[in-house]
Amino acid sequence: MTVQAWSILGAVVAVCFGAIGPAFAEGRAIASAMEAIARQPEAGGTISRTLFVGLAMIEAIAIYCLVIALVLLFANPFAH
């Protein structure tokens, strides 16, 4: 296979497997936040703000995978 074909395969694998971990992590975080808000509705503001910041941190991992995929597709250093 050519470098281009391998790059496309690499991009697919990066996004595929890179999305699994953050998806589970975000699910766990949101479930815990829901439980916490149900138990203590008056702390909802603080909990949801912390949740958003945490989700952004988790999401960064998936974004890194997207960046790797985009670099492979559009800015590949090995394909000419």
Partner: protein
């Protein structure tokens, strides 16, 4: 398909290439700046309807900053509020025909992340002095210093890439949906894009506040004021 990471210049102004996203960004800045200027002329103690609306926006940002930092929000609201309002407009301008979000381009988000990066130093040094601020790099142990420096670099990079990835990938998804299914299907996707833009603007502003807050208070919190 053209690369989303490369910007083609529209024209050259002397040696400086000017791209479409730069023009959009400047236009947004000019409109927001002019409207802020004219909305804050002739402020009255008994506010008019417009003044009340503007005060509502400012007080919402003030409350968020106060909740996060636990201190007087006055020095931090200009930075956070400007980032927030600019990002809302820049992320949502995709719905205007012929215009593209400047935040879907690497240069704009890099500039915004660098603004946050340098404001962290500005506020940290202003609050603790140069020595006091630099001391937090070697706490609790000088061995930690490389990790501190690495974390400052990667979090700036993550700030840049988070905004870029969300806005740009939404544009890509929208392009794919439009090419697959005509007229009616993309509209809910576009509405979802507005929501994504709002959430990303909020997250960017809150993260900027958190980073600035971490730089401002360098001494470890006592047991009474542990952040919840």
């Amino acid at each position: 398909m053209s690369s989303p990471l490369v910007e083609t210049p529209l024209f050259h102004l002397g040696p400086v290439p000017i791209a479409g996203s730069v023009l959009t960004s400047f236009a947004i800045t000019a409109v927001l700046g002019a409207s802020s200027y004219f909305l804050t002329r002739r402020l009255a103690l008994k506010p008019s309807t417009t003044q009340a609306a503007v005060e509502l926006v400012v007080s919402v940002v003030d409350d968020q900053v106060r909740d996060v930092l636990r201190r007087d929000p006055a020095p931090y609201t200009p930075l956070v509020g400007t980032l927030f309002i600019y990002l809302i407009v820049a992320n949502s301008i995709e719905v205007v025909p012929m215009l593209h979000s400047p935040t879907a381009r690497l240069e704009t988000t890099m500039a915004l992340a660098l603004i946050v990066f340098f404001s962290v130093y500005f506020y940290g040094i202003r609050a603790n002095g140069l020595r006091g601020y630099l001391r937090h790099f070697i706490e609790p142990s000088p061995l930690i210093a490389p990790i501190h420096i690495l974390s400052e670099a990667t979090r700036t990079f993550a700030l840049m890439m988070r905004l870029l990835g969300n806005i740009m990938s939404h544009g890509l998804v929208l392009a794919i949906v439009v090419s697959l299914a005509g007229l009616l299907v993309p509209i809910p996707v576009m509405a979802f894009g507005l929501f994504v833009g709002l959430v990303q603007a909020y997250i960017f502003a809150i993260l900027a506040t958190v980073y600035v807050g971490a730089a401002v208070e360098t001494e470890p919190p006592t047991s009474k004021e542990v952040r919840t």
